[in-house]
Symmetry: C2
Subunit: 187 residues, 2 copies
């Protein structure tokens, strides 16, 4: 990112979303994205591995956020509390991004390949959280179950948040979903 | 399935598994499967849409089993009890199939495309169970959460059962995993 390309990443992202929405994801090429952003293809590839990456680069950050939070919980925390702690920082991650998240969701919903990619990324998130729990000393199968349950809570909460037309408090929705899981399991 | 092709489906399945194990899934063609089974390609396509279907045809049965069981639970059953009831018949489904399940798992684990397909089929299972719960009058997000949690229990139990070198009691492992989820959520 040289001085001659201010906010190249943001410009590429905005151009990609515009084109995905105008022509569809599959019909959009990297060359078109670069052109719309007023940048070169080479610059595009300096920021993203491919056009799909424009939609999924946030997932890696989310993954890191979850894993770091699990590892930071006290050693004597109950597994589900560790998972709850892991989910909490995602509220900050999504703050102010409701409009963006809704646009992203619409692009993904329209393309089978992207819906599948989203599932695969979610499975990777489960595996990463389970692994972090194991590193914190939680044995299996509890680590796997807690991770699966935790990401299930995240998915359900995210779905509620992103499908609502108005921006809601994602952290509050997350806590509510976690309470619902506890209520469900204790009934 | 005419009289001149006794157990065509079983012969095709056995031939496919042999070839997947000998040469790898990607390297195996439908023509080779048919030849090994002593049948024609046309007969193959009468039983399976493609070679991938040989590995995933059981999933449709499982899906039906789960949905029927949810719909058959009493209307006043707690959502997680309905899900527990949905999982129970899968113990019968897998009875006596441990060796087969292990072979299938090994083929799937070796190929990225198949691992992804397995994830997608699991997501479809979650959606089908959530839908059945909604039809039984369970409101969202409880229906989604219960389905996600239930399939998580199923996945963790299946993983334990299939990775064990000796055949175990899948029903017992399922019940144990469900108890672990309850313990997890109540801690």
């Amino acid at each position: 990112m040289g001085r001659w390309e201010p906010d190249a990443r943001g410009r590429l992202e905005r151009a990609a979303y515009e084109l995905f929405e105008e022509h569809g994801y599959e019909q959009t090429t990297v060359a078109e994205i670069a052109r719309r952003a007023g940048l070169t293809e080479r610059t595009f590839y300096r920021h993203f591995a491919d056009k799909r990456e424009v939609l999924f680069s946030g997932q890696a950050q989310l993954n890191e956020l979850f894993v770091d939070a699990v590892l930071a919980t006290p050693a004597d925390a109950a597994p589900l509390d560790a998972v709850a702690a892991a989910l909490a920082p995602s509220a900050g991650f999504f703050a102010g991004r409701h409009g963006h998240a809704r646009r992203r969701q619409a692009v993904i919903a329209a393309t089978a390949e992207l819906r599948e990619r989203e599932l695969i990324k979610m499975a990777a998130l489960v595996a990463a959280v389970a692994d972090a729990l194991r590193r914190r000393g939680v044995p299996d199968p509890t680590a796997s179950l807690a991770a699966e349950a935790g990401i299930a809570v995240f998915r359900v909460a995210f779905e509620r948040w992103v499908t609502a037309p108005e921006d809601g408090d994602f952290g509050a929705i997350l806590r509510e979903s976690l309470d619902q899981l506890r209520a469900l399991a204790s009934s």
